[in-house]
């Protein structure tokens, strides 16, 4: 398995503010990697350095084997970028825009197929100005993938979506991942990271404070469990034993029984406060 993104000792400072204070990252080809972190943690700065938008102060960065600090057209044609907000090309139609952008790439996909893939086939003739927020975001993704990128960056792709639109968007991203596209995603939504990502990294105060699979992040799977029932709650390392004991006490069904381990959100909040 090859490495798509390799970062060692990355730092970036704006005036007095150390935005990124020494980050190491390895993102494997073909995986979906989520970067989590509060606003101002250095998440966007890191991603923008990887995308070739910003210069770094120090450290080694390799994206698809190239230093993004010196982006070439050839490299750009292998990387897709979906930015946070954009309101451009409002007067062009979806099809015109996707076709136009296809012209920039040496190995562009068929524009109509991409439009269909992002679920905009019925809106292809509409001007982008007339689309809803969620539909616009699909155009952004279409423009991000039109050049058949090996690596796709998605910056907070579902902010402002309603729950249904978000689910549909997740399916779209999962479809791309299944085709083998490496995806680097930043998000504020922990359920999104949990649903999409093979691995996540949590950035706080310019450093990576935890990295791993969503299900085991921060020792989540082995953390103490909380057993709750009507009339009480205990935190314990041996929840099964507690439940057995309760079964005996209630002589059968335990009223309102739940056994929980910390959610990704609990772990995340503990990590970024620490």
């Amino acid at each position: 398995m090859t490495t798509a993104v390799k970062v060692r000792g990355l730092t970036k400072r704006y005036g007095d503010v150390q935005a990124v204070g020494g980050i190491d990252l390895d993102i494997r080809a073909g995986e979906v990697f989520a970067i989590l972190g509060p606003n101002g943690a250095g998440k966007s700065t890191t991603v923008e350095i990887l995308e070739g938008y910003r210069k770094r102060d120090a450290g080694e960065v390799s994206v698809l084997g190239t230093d993004p600090g010196r982006p070439t057209r050839e490299w750009r044609s292998r990387v897709g970028v979906v930015l946070q907000t954009a309101n451009d090309v409002a007067e062009a139609t979806v099809r015109e825009t996707v076709r136009h952008f296809a012209g920039y790439y040496p190995n562009a996909q068929d524009p109509d197929r991409v439009i269909e893939q992002v679920g905009l086939a019925e809106k292809a003739g509409k001007r982008i100005r007339e689309l809803s927020g969620g539909q616009r975001r699909r155009v952004d993704v279409a423009l991000g993938v039109i050049g058949s990128p090996e690596l796709l960056f998605l910056d907070e792709p579902t902010t402002g979506f309603d729950p249904e639109a978000r689910r549909q968007f997740w399916e779209l991203i999962q479809g791309l991942a299944h085709q083998g596209t490496t995806i680097v995603l930043t998000t504020h939504y922990l359920d999104e990271a949990e649903a999409l990502a093979d691995r996540v990294a949590v950035i706080a105060k310019g450093r990576i404070v935890a990295e791993g699979e969503p299900s085991t992040l921060g020792g989540r799977a082995t953390a103490r469990a909380t057993v709750r029932w009507s009339g009480g709650a205990v935190e314990t390392d041996t929840p099964t034993e507690t439940v057995l004991e309760l079964t005996r006490r209630f002589d059968g069904e335990i009223p309102e029984l739940t056994v929980t381990r910390p959610s990704l959100e609990d772990v995340y909040l503990r990590l970024i406060e620490g």
Binding site: G30, D88, H100, Y104, P106, Q109, H178
Partner: protein
């Protein structure tokens, strides 16, 4: 995901990047298409100089003493000058908006060569200015006794003044697009100097009626020289006596417009921002 699958449509052999020339034309086509879709902007862009010409030409129809020319002909020449400078305003505002609404950032993330963006804007400007000038000429001829030049050398002068003028003001427009803090403030920031320049460069007010210190300021900017060049074309030798210098100084016109093309290019290359101020 544990197994690696080939990326979609992976190239068998590395395909060639599309040429910068082809993409310049492609940018020009989409810019032009988008320009003509903003119907309200199109109507006002084209009707503004026409309405000014009709108003000024009708109010000041008097004959210019001892020349056999009338004031409205002077306005045609002046307004053609300002139509040639439309690129300053259109690009200054248009690029500020492109920077603000994410167009520039999105393009910077694609393999589009950056020159294609500027070439597309320049070609679009050349087209818009040409249409404006053609309409002004038609109205001048139809309503205000404007005579189209009859010699090849006059048309040559017209061509080089127009091309240098459009190029210089487009480059200047690209350079000033970095000044406004946001797309919203762009029209105010950029329209103001353009209106002022029109007043002091001999578009609305004949240049010989301006105080000397104002014409001296105007001499630093291209518009005065563009108008002077167009007066040489449309007023001919009869009008030369009205010039401050007693002649049209075509050599100086060429020199100063050429200097603005080079200066504008240097300004663009050194100051252009692909990112908005809020993007750091």
């Amino acid at each position: 995901m544990t197994q690696t699958i080939a990326p979609p449509a992976a190239p068998a052999a590395p395909a060639k990047l599309p040429s910068a020339f082809r993409l310049s034309l492609s940018r020009a086509a989409i810019e032009t298409r988008m320009f003509f879709r903003e119907k309200d902007a199109v109507i006002f862009t084209f009707s503004f100089p026409i309405i000014l010409l009709v108003i000024f030409g009708s109010i000041f129809a008097a004959e210019l003493e001892g020349t056999g020319l009338n004031v409205s002909q002077l306005y045609v020449a002046g307004l053609i000058g300002s139509a040639t400078m439309t690129g300053f305003q259109n690009l200054g505002i248009g690029i500020s908006m492109d920077r603000d609404d994410g167009t520039l950032k999105r393009l910077a993330g694609t393999p589009m060569p950056r020159t294609a963006y500027f070439a597309g804007k320049a070609l679009n400007t050349l087209l818009v200015s040409s249409v404006q000038v053609a309409v002004l000429l038609a109205i001048g001829v139809a309503m205000f006794e404007l005579e189209l030049p009859s010699t090849v050398s006059s048309w040559l002068t017209f061509t080089w003044v127009f091309v240098l003028g459009v190029l210089g003001s487009s480059l200047l427009g690209i350079a000033v697009s970095s000044l406004p803090r946001s797309g919203k403030s762009a029209s105010a920031v950029i329209a103001m100097p353009f209106v002022v320049l029109q007043f002091i460069s001999g578009v609305f007010i004949p240049i010989d009626q301006l105080p000397e210190w104002l014409t001296r300021i105007a001499s630093f900017f291209p518009l005065k020289w563009m108008c002077q060049g167009f007066r040489a074309v449309f007023l001919g030798d009869d009008g030369a006596t009205l010039e401050l210098a007693g002649s049209y100084e075509l050599d100086r016109v060429a020199l100063i417009l050429g200097a603005w093309v080079i200066g504008g290019l240097v300004l663009c290359l050194t100051t252009f921002r692909w990112k908005g101020r809020r993007d750091g």
